[in-house]
Amino acid sequence: MREGASIGWNLVRAWTVLVYIFMFLPVAVVVLLSFNASQFGSFPMTGFSFRWFVELAQNDAILRAFRTSVVLGLLTAAISTTLGVLASLALVRYRVPGANMISTLLIAPILVPEVVLAVALLLFLNFLQINKSFTLLLLGHVIFTLPFVILVVQARLVSIKRDIEEAAMSLGASPRQTFFQVTLPLMLPAVLAGALFAFTISFDDITGTLFWKPGGVETVPTQIFAMLRNSISPEINALGTVMILMTVGLPLLGLALARKLSTKSGG
């Protein structure tokens, strides 16, 4: 009986490892091949080289796409975080009629398939006879990064006791001073986490971006997509590696930072 159980568990372990390999092997291959000296973006590896990163840095189209993605990501993060913090404050701290309904509506974009959201927004703007533009693209990104910011910030705000803000006000701080002196510093870890989420999600997004981007504008993911249609250049591997570094590295960095901040402020 015991023997059988242990075999069973070993099988589960092996299976888990296989699943992880299935998930991460392609990523590892991309990273590995980005250092391949060969001019074909596939095995066998002929040597170790930074050649493709250098070429990447000299490719104007990619650099332009990269710049677009970073600007888009930063703007998305800034707008989403501001709106998200304000919405969370309103929903948690004030009695808003229909707060539950508003909350659900704001979170809804996570629940709706992105394609549906993308098409819906496009049709809506068509109906209003507004042309595609960078602003529209930004708007789309804000819509589906906002829920993440709200979820993170709301959770934190609920844990900040109202007493603390009341104490600040009783000591002479106006509501605005109280916000900047007490509430904001206490929810800063969540605000930063939300901003990072927004940035990475925007930086990473392809579905919505494909629908919303105006002609001639490419973000990194759409650029990769376009390049893949021609040939699999090893540059793509290098670009993939950079993307992985940004979309995995940044949130990890943010998480570490948030943890450090919150231990300092006593959670």
Binding site: K161, D163, I164, E166, A167, A168, M169, S170, L171, G172, A173, S174, P175, Q177, T178, Q181, V182, P185, L186, K264, S265, G266, G267
Partner: protein
């Protein structure tokens, strides 16, 4: 001129009335306690004085000025909460200095006043630490220092001792009273703990279900409760339905079950205006169990000990006299009476109080 005045204050939340028409005058420098069970409206009153709630009707005056429309941050109040409410991201010194930043105090003075406040609460060396590095009692002292350093017109304390351990709570009680007397600030203290109220207050405001039941000095409220609620809430009382048969210049004649005819001092029955139904209030600790005969002027009634609740230096008995159960709390020296013992209940008439029936 009183420091705080509540004029016919009413507070409603939707259809629920939390505070009914209450009026209150709090004298300059006084330590006034709002005492009552949870939901009696005491915290609502405090929050209205603080400016955290707006009264539905009536007006609030602080230092003679109407403050209904003055927001909390312009009222110059010190507020201490049950959960300390220190700023977790600021050091102790920064916490205490917080209120001074909004009062145009030069930075050298800020440092000195913060240090003075920390010394007043007997924690002069924790300025550089963060609140979570301190114990609950220490955090509450810091919260107090933060509230008094701004020299508030009124100090408002919302159950500040309730989160502390029993022993610490008693120490803090003495400490808090010492500090309040030292700086002489008008203080409104909210608690549901009668012993805190009795020990600390100049004046107790007993509240129940949104109404003020009685206002008076601790001894007054304790010895001459003005309602059955007050008699029961402050300590344990036996209340017997009887009647007043006659009213004299300095004595009131009562007839009550078990104890029969009693003549109690008129000042212990101020609300009885003439013969009629009345209630006899006998505090549990005024009822003495004994097996010796009664001295002169003491009423003695035979009774039977039913339950013994031994508490060390004191004991609480539930005794039966006739068909009535009574409660008695006696200090004891040695062993209490055992359950089932036949005893005499001794009562001095001057220890009783009476209420209109």
């Amino acid at each position: 001129m009183s420091a705080v005045t509540l004029n016919n204050i009413v507070k409603r939340f939707g259809t629920f009335t939390a505070v009914h028409q209450s009026s209150l005058e709090i004298a300059e420098g006084a330590f006034v306690t709002l005492l009552g069970p949870s939901g009696c409206g005491k915290t609502t009153n405090l929050r209205m004085i603080a400016g955290l709630l707006d009264p539905t009707e009536g007006e609030i005056l602080i230092g003679g000025k109407r403050v209904n429309d003055v927001p909390i941050h312009k009222r110059n109040l010190g507020l201490v909460f049950q959960n300390y409410a220190l700023f977790p991201h600021k050091t102790v010194a920064e916490n205490v200095a917080f209120g001074l930043k909004y009062r145009d105090v030069p930075s050298g003075d800020i440092r000195r006043r913060v240090q003075d406040a920390l010394e007043l609460v007997q924690l002069p060396n924790v300025g550089e630490r963060y609140p979570k590095e301190l114990s609950g009692g220490q955090q509450q002292r810091i919260a107090l220092a933060r509230a008094i350093v701004i020299e508030p017109d009124v100090l408002l304390l919302d159950e500040p001792l309730s989160a502390l351990d029993a022993n610490l709570r008693e120490d803090m009680r003495v400490e808090l009273k010492r500090i309040q007397e030292r700086i002489g600030v008008t203080t409104v203290f909210v608690t549901h703990d009668q012993s805190e109220a009795l020990a600390m207050s100049d004046q107790i405001v007993v509240m129940s279900a949104g109404r003020v039941e009685q206002v008076g000095a601790p001894q007054e409220v304790y010895n001459t409760p003005s309602s059955e609620f007050v008699a029961n809430f402050l300590g344990a009382s036996n209340i017997l339905e009887g009647k007043c048969t006659d009213i004299g210049a300095d004595k009131v004649a009562l007839e009550a079950p078990i104890f029969g005819k009693l003549a109690i001092p008129a000042e212990k029955a101020p609300l009885i205006k003439g013969p009629g139904p009345a209630k006899l209030v006998v505090r549990a600790e005024k009822l003495q169990l004994s097996q010796s005969p009664a001295p002169d002027g003491v009423v003695s009634v035979p009774a039977h000990v039913e339950t013994v609740d031994y508490q060390g230096q004191a004991v609480r008995y539930f005794v039966r006299a006739g068909d009535t159960q009574l409660q008695a709390i006696n200090m004891i020296d040695g062993y209490p009476f055992a359950e089932g013992t036949e005893v005499n209940l001794l009562l001095r008439p001057q220890d009783c109080a009476a209420l209109p029936g």
